[in-house]
Symmetry: C2
């Protein structure tokens, strides 16, 4: 049976001050009344029944996850004792699913991306599921055809094609790190490259087999955890085993090395909403190029990304290309053209002992 695992491990630094350590990006909404994690769940609940929806998140965020997704039972929220990147996260989810359903197929999705339309996503998942039903070893990645030369996303290069039941997939030829502008333009110009959107479909036993082969430390930790699954020792065992696992992405740990890795071209719009700078390409803007959420009154204001709350006025005059974010505890005003501004600022805030605002 198909299960969905939502990876909700985001730490919330890149959308400061709206995202906070206590409220990372997946819990915010961007141009919708539903938050990113709610939209992610909504998209998947057309494919599966609620009791097959799982979320992996940090201890600090399990309560907010539960509040935003009230359809989940506490047992469906898998709590990581610490952040260990996607490989241990996926392994943890896989052993939990296998204990409930040895034939489980996993759809793995990040909690904090924007995808549309949902129907195209659901259609792509259905085709991927059919494929892994016919090829139990297959590890399927979704590849989004790039519609602009992004230097902020990783790319997948496709290899030989492989038709199955009317769907064309490709063996993965290579993973490409975030490219420079020239390379990104080349990738975008030909049809051989896809954005790696971090969405996967595979049998839980297949990914565990691959993890056993390429990341034995993670596998062995999981084996020890399996023995205490469903007992009172689980929490203590997890607190011991999980932090000891290598912090590594599933791409780097397994997918770049495994044999049966396929990319399925996914005809949906996708964005990982990696920074404030992403918003203008995702949300509508006014005739002066301002992307606004909240109450704003501006004059001689252009190219700004403005985010406020529903009971606070942001007024601007004579400003251009700024990111202006108001929250009750902190206000950000930054040059929009510098992608590193938030990272550098939050580091400086930490250095000055102002962590309470992070």
């Amino acid at each position: 049976m198909l299960h969905t695992v939502i990876m909700a491990g985001g730490s919330g630094s890149r959308f400061w001050p709206q995202s906070r350590r206590a409220l990372p990006k997946q819990f915010l909404h961007f141009g919708s009344t539903r938050t990113l994690i709610q939209e992610t769940a909504d998209r998947c609940l057309s494919l599966i029944s609620p009791h097959r929806l799982w979320v992996v998140t940090g201890a600090a965020h399990s309560k907010e996850t539960s509040r935003q997704l009230p359809e989940l039972l506490p047992s469906q929220i898998l709590v990581e004792p610490c952040a260990r990147n996607t490989a241990p996260c996926i392994a943890l989810a896989a052993i939990r699913l296998l204990s409930a359903d040895p034939e489980a197929i996993m759809l793995v999705v990040p909690a904090d991306h924007i995808i549309s339309p949902p129907e195209a996503f659901q259609d792509a998942v259905n085709r991927a599921v059919k494929f892994v039903e016919s090829q139990p070893e297959a590890l399927v990645l979704f590849g989004v055809p790039p519609n602009f030369p992004s230097t902020g996303f990783g790319y997948i290069q496709r290899g030989e094609s492989c038709a199955s039941d009317g769907t064309t997939l490709y063996k993965v030829q290579a993973f490409k790190e975030k490219p420079n502008q020239l390379t990104a333009a080349r990738y975008t110009a030909c049809d051989e490259y896809y954005w790696n959107c971090g969405i996967f479909v595979w049998r839980a036993d297949a990914i565990m087999k691959a993890i056993a082969e390429f990341e034995p430390e993670i596998f062995q930790g999981c084996e020890r955890l399996k023995r205490v699954a469903g007992t009172a020792q689980w929490d203590a065992a997890l607190a011991e085993e999980f932090p000891a696992m290598p912090s590594i992405s599933i791409d780097y740990a397994v997918l770049e090395k495994a044999q049966s890795v396929y990319v399925l071209p996914a005809p949906f719009q996708w964005d990982d909403v990696g920074s404030w700078q992403a918003l203008p390409r995702l949300l509508s803007h006014d005739s002066d190029g301002n992307t606004v959420a909240g109450i704003h009154c501006g004059q001689e204001t252009s190219g700004c990304i403005i985010r406020g709350t529903e009971d606070h006025l942001i007024a601007t005059f004579g400003v251009k290309d700024l990111i202006i974010v108001h929250t009750p505890t902190a206000t950000l005003v930054a040059d929009r053209r510098n992608e590193n501004s938030i990272k550098e600022l939050t580091a400086e805030i930490e250095r000055r002992g102002l962590q309470a605002y992070l």
Copy 2:
């Protein structure tokens, strides 16, 4: 006896969003723990006893005045039913003082200016008082020697000198409206011009006599009010008479026309704090030229005027020459180089029906 009349009729539009209709500039503090009106009262209470301190303010601001100046009895707060500029304001105070003290000398001071040091101010007042004691018809203005060619202040041109008891005063030759840059430079270069700081010393009966001569409408309204002073009909009479008076400044109504008008060179630092742009010349700034109040963390930030609250972080990156003001209900981000930005913005806010934020 000397009395002080603090004119606190400010409407609070130029320091939006920190000043509000309900909390104009005189109630804010700039580089001090005391607000402007408190500092004004402090300066004068070295000269007079508290029961000779009077404040003229609008109905909307009498409560805050009373809160900030708890030494005042309710009867010492004279409430204007509406704003009518300084001539009716001063006339109202004069008749009130005369009812208590027919020999009253009035020191008239705006509530929302910055003056230092207080001792120089007090010394200048003492000298002016001595002068009007010897010349009962005299209307004395304080003239501040300009220390930069301001185009934002009015100027007084001095005429013939007139020594009295060791103090040199000058007959006022002419009042000069806010000059252009070239004229301001000329005024500043010679010693014949002073900033008109709107501080006056005169006998209450002398200013009423001049008002009778040049603004009979105001005088007659005051005569009718005098008849009901101290009775239950006062409020109703004031509500009828005061709005009917012409809205005009004491300078334009009387001082430009009267004979016995003198300027006393006042050797104190003075500023009317007319806009956010005034702050850098009044308050200290950091090595990048930022004038900051509140909690600020900035990188690549220069020439900014930043004002927040004590429990809210303002973080900036890659910005220059901005005014950034955070309050719990509104945030302003504006180009510092445009002096009209606040006026235009607040007009636009009004047009859009967002008056609740003004």
